[in-house]
Amino acid sequence: MRSRARDSILPVTVVVLAIIALWYVFTVILNTPWQQSVYARADQVDVPVSQFLADVFAQQRPVLPAPHQVAVEFWNSVVNADPGTPRSLLFHAWITLSATGLGFIFGTLLGIGLAVLIVHNRAMDRSLMPWIIASQTIPILAIAPMVVVVLASIGLTGLVPKALISTYLSFFPVVVGMVKGFRSPEAIHLDLMRTYNASGAQVFWKLRWPAAIPFLFTSMKVGVAASLVGAIVGELPTGAAGGLGSRLLAGSYYGQTTQIWAALLMAAALSAALIFAIGGLQKITQKAMGAAA
């Protein structure tokens, strides 16, 4: 496994470099109009290309900041800022991560619980599923402020409202995946259980659950990404309480594009780390379950 990790260093590097190169190209393309209007206002003509590039890569409010601008901002707000203060991205990442983690755990448990109900109870299957689906079509950002307001009026503020929104977004992929997973055992494997007159719980723990494990991990990967989105969405309406969401909001409110991108980078890094962690868990579990090497 370790050697496989090493094998992927080269490809990842190549792809990342390709993306960065492309990014620079787009930086030039997207920021040129503004740069030209600046030159026009200053009556500058025939600016040498080197000067032009230097200016394009050093704009205050670029449409697309150059990678190195984002990197500098990222570095400044991660390494050079005191992690105890709102100037530090780590501070915000931690706030968001705690809401994400809480929401993800709730969401996964809720999702599995609902899937169990749906698989074991016909009435639940028929009546619950359509409404679970409908619930997901409710635009969360629309009700997020109301959720925040309502919860605040009963005294719940801070982590809980965000975690709830995060739960709301993450339980769905888990329900869908786990219903499929719990129903994935072959008929003959279920028949075997029938011949033992195994109880519902026994069929569940000894057959449905292990058979659903591959589905669980795939769903959890999607679910954790959704959780993070939920936590960030939950931070938007109360834009002042900290977290990556409020950072994104403030960045766009005060026109600090580079700051938005740094926060985005942090959010993506968080998400990737969470997904990676789940992937690791998946490898370990599947190995313990005798998957072919």
Partner: protein, 309 residues
């Protein structure tokens, strides 16, 4: 002795716009007045009127048009004080747009803030007799998001700005002031009162509450006075209350200065300005702009400001 607990809901995130309150809190003016105040920042999607209706706040700050609209929708808000005496809402048009006067508006794209902030704009368009459905004779309306970007990127011809915030962003971006055309809503005759203090009507029957409010307003005005005198320090206090870490001192000093300039000598509501706001709103009733349809009754009171004297 017992402190009177108060929850105060802002309309927007902590920034220089609310410097007076933040200063009063930070320097202990509220505490001295026997108040235990919690200031809840707002955000782009928090409607303070909804928060107070749900019992999440005792007093809120919001624009008068939004408050009157809420009152008509069954949230009995009452204005108890009006710290901001003048209007800071403006519309700014870029040089490229070619807009010099309101006569140039037809066929242009204008950025507007919604979420209860759109009433002045629709009143203005009604007054100018311009349709807001696009086309050559009307204007195209964009729901403008948080920043001044649509103007900088030429996505809109004109955008809404607050004098104390987005306008400075436009200038900071390097656009020379003389290339811009600025419309002040008050000058156009559609000015409406901005940040005022509102409470639920039934609470005013409680004399203790009225007394607490009087102390709250007085302490807040003290805060504003301090902020006006010490903008640097007030900006520092604002920054200390900013949980996003995105504000800069420079922008907040500017904002405190501009906001403090809006604060009148007395917190008492200027009834004439109130009546003008109502009249403007009523003159522009349309399906797009259903702020209020009838003259409001009892939408303001002077008991609190009277008690301060």
């Amino acid at each position: 002795q017992d402190m009177y607990p108060l929850t105060f809901q802002l309309k927007w995130v902590n920034q220089g716009q609310f410097a007076g309150y933040l200063v009063a809190q930070d320097l202990g003016y509220y505490e001295e007045a026997g108040l235990d105040v919690t200031i809840n920042p707002g955000g782009p999607d928090i409607a303070p009127e909804q928060v107070i209706a749900g019992g999440g706040a005792d007093v809120i700050t919001t624009w008068m048009a939004a408050a009157l609209a809420a009152r008509e929708r069954g949230v009995p808000l009452v204005n108890i004080a009006q710290p901001f005496a003048t209007t800071a809402l403006e519309m700014v048009c870029s040089e490229e747009s070619g807009v010099e006067t309101t006569a140039d508006f037809p066929g242009k794209t204008l950025g507007v803030w919604f979420f209860g902030n759109e009433y002045p704009f629709y009143a203005w368009m009604a007054q100018l007799g311009l349709s807001t459905d696009g086309g050559d004779d009307g204007v195209e309306v964009l729901r403008q998001a948080f920043s001044a970007d649509p103007l900088l990127q030429n996505q809109a011809d004109c955008i809404s700005v607050m004098r104390y915030n987005e306008y400075k962003q436009v200038l900071d971006a390097g656009i020379p002031e003389d290339s811009l055309t600025l419309f002040n809503f008050a000058d156009e005759g559609v000015g409406m009162l901005e940040d005022g203090l509102y409470v639920m009507e039934d609470r005013l029957e409680d004399p203790e509450f009225v007394d607490a409010m009087a102390r709250f307003v007085a302490a807040s005005m003290e805060g504003w006075a301090y902020a006006e005198a010490n903008p640097e320090e007030a900006a520092e206090i604002v920054l200390a209350n900013d949980m996003s870490g995105a504000l800069t001192l420079e922008s907040q000093v500017y904002q405190v200065n501009e906001a403090a300039a809006l604060v009148g000598d007395s917190p008492a509501l200027d009834v004439e300005a109130y009546e003008q706001t109502v009249a403007t709103l009523l003159s522009a009733v349309s399906p797009d702009n259903p702020a209020i349809t009838a003259e409001p009754e009892g939408a303001y009171t002077t008991v609190v400001t009277d008690a301060i004297e």
